[in-house]
C-alpha cells in the first residue's frame, strides 16, 4: 500500500509525518533530537529507509544522524568536516578577507545510486561527500578552490551551500548553489566547477551581472529534464534551458519575485511552485495572505493558490528547503512555515490543509513516496 512520509526539520527537532496514499489523515512522530536545530533530513532514493539528518546546536556544534529503519532509530555518525588543505579566506561583510570556518551542515543530498554515498552542503560554503554512510567526510575542494572563492561573501543567513542537485541522467554532473556566491556546475563528479550565473541580474551588488556574487536562494529540476533548471533568486524567479549556461527571468505576474523555495510538479515538468514573500527586509507574504503561486508554463504566467491557506493576518515565512512534492498520481505538494505549520495539497496545489500546525519554526521539508 502506498504511503507518504514527510520529513520535517525544525528549530527544535525533527518530525516525521506519515499518511496513506489518500493523504487525509496524518500521524506525527517526534520530536526526534528535541531541542536541536535540524536544518535538513532526507532519505535515500535507493533505500528509502536510509535517512540522513543534520543536527546542530549553538552549544554543541554539528552532529550527523543516520537511520536505517525510516526514522524510528537513529545513530550518530561522522561530524568531522575538515576543509581540505589550507582553508583560505573569503570576503567578509565589511569587504575584508575572512578565514573559512565550518559552522553547520545546511543540506544533505543522498546519492541517486548508492545508499552509502551522501553529499553535504555546509557553511562556510563547501561541498563534502561521504561514501560510507556518513561516517567519514571528504571535501570536494575544487569548488572552494575555484578562483572566485576569495570574492564570495555571506548572505544575511551566512555563507551557506544550501542546494545540491544530482543529475539523474549524467552521474558526473552536480549543480550547487551558495548564498551569496551563486550557482555552480561540475561535469566531472565534483572535481572542477563552473559558475553558471550568466543572465542573473542583482541590483544590490557592485556589478549587477557579475559572474559570481548573486544571492541564489534555491534551484529546482525535474528529473526527466535535467537541462532545465528553475531558480528562486533573492529577487527574481529565473529559468535555464541549458543546464545553467544562461538564465532568463520568468517572474511574470508574481506579486513579488522575492522568496525562498521553488519546486517542480512530479509529473508536469513545466509546472512549478513558488511562495512570494513581500521583500528581503520583511520576510512575510504580501498583504498578510499566504499564497503559493503555480505556473503551468514553466514560469511567466502565474496563478495564486489560496484554498485552505490563511488569507488574512498571516506573517510567516517559508524557507528555502521547506517545500517538496510527492510522486503519487495526483501530485502532492508540501511546505512548512516559520510559524510551525506544515501545509499539504493532495491535488497539485488546488486545495491545501495544515497537516500539523504548531511545530517549532520549520527549516526543511522533504517527502518520500513509499510503495
Amino acid at each position: 500500500m502506498t504511503k507518504v512520509r514527510v520529513l520535517v526539520g525544525t528549530r527544535k527537532g525533527a518530525f516525521i509525518l506519515t499518511s496513506d496514499g489518500k493523504r487525509a489523515k496524518w500521524d506525527v512522530d517526534g520530536p526526534h533530537f528535541g531541542g536541536w536545530e535540524i536544518y535538513h533530513l532526507k532519505g535515500s532514493r535507493v533505500n528509502p529507509d536510509r535517512l540522513y539528518a543534520s543536527q546542530c546546536s549553538g552549544w554543541f556544534g554539528q552532529v550527523i544522524q543516520r537511520s536505517d529503519d525510516g526514522g524510528r532509530k537513529w545513530e550518530p555518525v561522522g561530524n568531522a568536516f575538515t576543509y581540505d588543505g589550507t582553508a583560505g579566506t573569503h570576503q567578509w561583510y565589511d569587504g575584508t578577507a575572512h578565514p573559512w570556518e565550518f559552522k553547520r551542515v545546511w543540506h544533505l543530498e543522498p546519492s541517486l545510486s548508492d545508499p552509502d554515498a551522501v553529499y553535504a552542503g555546509v557553511e562556510d560554503a563547501a561541498l563534502f561527500r561521504s561514501g560510507d554512510g556518513g561516517r567519514t567526510w571528504a571535501e570536494l575542494s575544487g569548488l572552494r578552490r575555484h578562483g572566485s572563492g576569495p570574492r564570495w561573501q555571506p548572505g544575511a543567513g551566512g555563507m551557506c551551500l544550501h542546494t545540491i542537485i544530482l543529475d539523474p541522467v549524467n552521474p558526473r554532473r552536480i549543480f550547487i548553489a551558495i548564498s551569496a556566491a551563486g550557482a555552480f556546475r561540475s561535469d566531472d563528479a565534483g572535481e572542477t566547477w563552473l559558475p553558471i550565473n550568466r543572465g542573473l541580474r542583482s541590483e544590490h551588488i557592485p556589478d549587477p551581472t557579475a559572474d559570481v556574487g548573486h544571492c541564489v536562494h534555491r534551484i529546482a529540476m525535474h528529473p526527466s529534464r535535467p537541462n532545465v533548471l528553475f531558480m528562486q533568486k533573492h529577487w527574481d524567479v529565473m529559468r535555464s534551458d541549458d543546464a545553467g549556461g544562461s538564465w532568463r527571468e520568468v517572474s511574470g505576474n508574481l506579486p513579488s519575485d522575492f522568496g525562498f523555495p521553488i519546486e517542480v510538479h512530479a509529473h508536469e515538468p513545466e509546472t512549478i511552485y513558488v511562495v512570494p514573500i513581500k521583500s528581503d527586509s520583511e520576510h512575510y507574504p504580501p498583504d498578510g495572505k499566504l499564497r503559493v503561486y503555480r505556473s503551468r508554463t514553466g514560469g511567466g504566467d502565474w496563478e495564486a493558490l489560496t484554498a485552505g491557506l490563511p488569507q488574512r493576518d498571516c506573517y510567516v515565512n517559508v524557507l528555502r528547503d521547506a517545500m517538496a512534492v510527492d510522486s503519487l498520481e495526483s501530485c502532492g505538494v508540501y511546505f512548512g512555515t516559520t510559524g510551525g505549520q506544515v501545509y499539504a495539497s493532495a491535488d497539485g496545489g488546488d486545495t491545501w490543509a495544515a497537516i500539523v500546525r504548531d511545530l517549532p519554526a520549520v527549516l526543511s521539508v522533504e517527502v518520500q513516496t513509499l510503495a
Partner: protein
C-alpha cells in the same frame, strides 16, 4: 574512576543515563578527562571541544567542586576530590540566550 556529568542533550546523544565513570590515563586534567570521554563516546567528539582547535566550545563550561574551571589550563591538575572520584567533573551547557 573519575565521574563526569554531561548536559542532558549530550547524555541523549551518547545514549547514557546518569553520571559517567571513566578510567583516565595519567594525571586527571581537563584534557585527559575529555580525551577519556571522547574515547568512550566518540559521538561526543566535536560537541564539547572544537574538532579542529580542540578548544572548549564557546557555550560549554566546566565546573568541579563548586568552581568554574572553564578558563583553567587544559593540563592543570583537577582537584584531588575529582581525581579520586569523590566529586564529579561537570560539563555544562552555558545559560545563553536573550
Amino acid at each position: 574512576m573519575i565521574r563526569v556529568v554531561l548536559p542532558a542533550h549530550l547524555r541523549n546523544l551518547a545514549g547514557v543515563e546518569g553520571t559517567l565513570a571513566l578510567e583516565v590515563q595519567g594525571p586527571a586534567t581537563q584534557r585527559s578527562v575529555l580525551d577519556a570521554v571522547e574515547a568512550s563516546y566518540p559521538m561526543l567528539c566535536g560537541t564539547i571541544r572544537d574538532r579542529g582547535t580542540r578548544k572548549r566550545r564557546a557555550f560549554v563550561r566546566f565546573f568541579a567542586c563548586g568552581r568554574d574551571m572553564s578558563h583553567e589550563p587544559e593540563d592543570a591538575p583537577l582537584p584531588d576530590a575529582v581525581a579520586a572520584g569523590r566529586e564529579p567533573f561537570l560539563i555544562v551547557g552555558a545559560i545563553a540566550g536573550g
